[in-house]
Amino acid sequence: MTERSHSGLRPSRIAIHAVLILAALVYLIPLFIMLITSFKTPMDIRTGNLMALPSEWTTLGWSKAWSEACTGVQCDGIRGYFWNSFKMTVPAVLISTLLGAFNGYVLSKWKFRGSDLFFGMLLFGCFVPFQVVLLPMAATLGKLGLANTTSGLVLVHVVYGVAFTTLFFRNYYVAIPDALVKAARLDGAGFFTIFFRILLPMSTPIFMVSLIWQFTQIWNDFLFGVVFASGDSQPITVALNNLVNTSTGVKEYNVDMAAAMIAALPTLVVYIVAGKYFIRGLTAGSIKG
């Protein structure tokens, strides 16, 4: 019965495959265009077309984007901003994930009067449009002397990332039976012992989810970067946007594309290496939320 219906569906299965493959091409083509354009000469770009392979492969675009291209008034390339992004992303990711892990632990295993309300507050924080906090945050960073600094950006990303990381960990720990914590308490373990000896060793997957999600979010952020940083402290996304939208001189699309590739590489690499956790982060945030 099943067999027959399968052979009967043959043409439709071919159609399904065709649609899926076509869709895959549509998703891949922009990456392909970005890649080949970045290896073209400006001449090639003017004479060839989007899909044509470079007639002469050159890394000129890449080196120029890295160290010479103009991002506004300065013309030192995007390398400084690339490292800025790292200096901002790594601490922000670590701090927000650690805070999230502890919060999630408390909000699932050590509930207190008002803890559910607190969790509700955090949950709501995931949805607030950041525009509504930009002006006060800018003023506060200025007062704290953190305006236009990487530390300031780290603080901002921790504040607005901790709601998500808490959500991840809380939902993960809620699924772990309470009996485990009870057993450990009877065994004589306290708050931190239970966390470090029992729960933490079980938390590798959710740590991966949180680290990867936060890394992608913070690395890719543009809004906070453009509002709270200027000049030397800007992250890569802001620099890329400045580079692409600089109106001075001749447009060099190979440089634009190389810069875009450089900005995209860290998150792409993370996605390819640990995509499984990235997808879990994406779906966890919205399904269980």
Binding site: L180, L186, G188, I198
Partner: protein, 372 residues
Amino acid sequence: MSQLELRGIRKTYPGIAEETLKGIDIDIASGEFLILVGPSGCGKSTLLNTIAGLESITDGAIVLDGQDISTMEPKDRDIAMVFQSYALYPTMTVRENIAFGLKIRGLPKADIDREVARVADLLQISHLLDKKPSQLSGGQQQRVAMGRALARRPRIYLFDEPLSNLDAKLRVEMRTEIKKLHQRLGTTIVYVTHDQIEAMTLADRIAVLKDGELQQLGTPKEVYDTPANLFVAGFMGSPAMSFVPVTVARGERGPEAEVRGEDGRSLTLPLPDYLADRVGQRVILGIRPEHITQPQAQKQDSRLVATGAFTIEVTEPTGPDVIALIHLNDTPVHCRIDPEHPVTWGESAELMFDMKKVVFFDPETEQRIAPH
């Protein structure tokens, strides 16, 4: 070995009007195996958690060996617990699971090793020590969970439905195992279950709970033979006790009552003498399946035995017996009949009522009418 007193334990959860525990008083003797039994939501697990210190009590006192431990942290109470889900630490090996509590209490390594070896030997899990819980079968996990409790040599052991996640065959095996262990070690155990067979087979004494109130506390035999009220009577025993409303009448040789079958035929049942002062009143007759059998010559001579014919409505062979269903005074009643004595559904059969062990309840108070 330790002795535990529960004095007027009350528990109210914030936001819930009704008390979860309404003043529980139980004295548990040293070395006693006490079973808390009751339907789900009766408060038995809450009571166990309060003994462990995992939940606070609203009123009353928990006294262990003369010391009030009501407000102590769980870790200071020196109590071990075996959980329904086993709650084995998934990232630790069996050895580490058993050793965890000892390590936290700062025992020297040599002592820990010796203790783990002793427990593993006792429970025959020595070959599993280096495995992770996920590599074990349900029965093995169960043993490890018990091992973890035993290793600490606590003053009291608490078991929270430890066998309910096992399949039927394994459950019977582990039941025997636990009984042997208790007899060998003589430990004080408080054990929660909703399975009345487990309660009957394991307990020194059974505490039956319902809606946060203690219904009866007694040996399995007491609870089974002289249940305190309708609830206990219906809860203990399978198939359950049948309840037939009857009116007590004065007979020539003592009190008696008439019961009518589905087909209209009736039988006069002799009642024990202590019901003489209830003549003319309605009582509820509680009769267990084993009290209604095929006629047995050796029992016939008693005054409290009667025989009559009733229509068999359903028969359920269980192997050792056949459970037959009849109706008495429009109430379904189960009888336990020897399979060698065939009965057929839809036909009438002679049945013998042994009224010696039958119990009676007041329909108003639902309490058992005690002999006086």
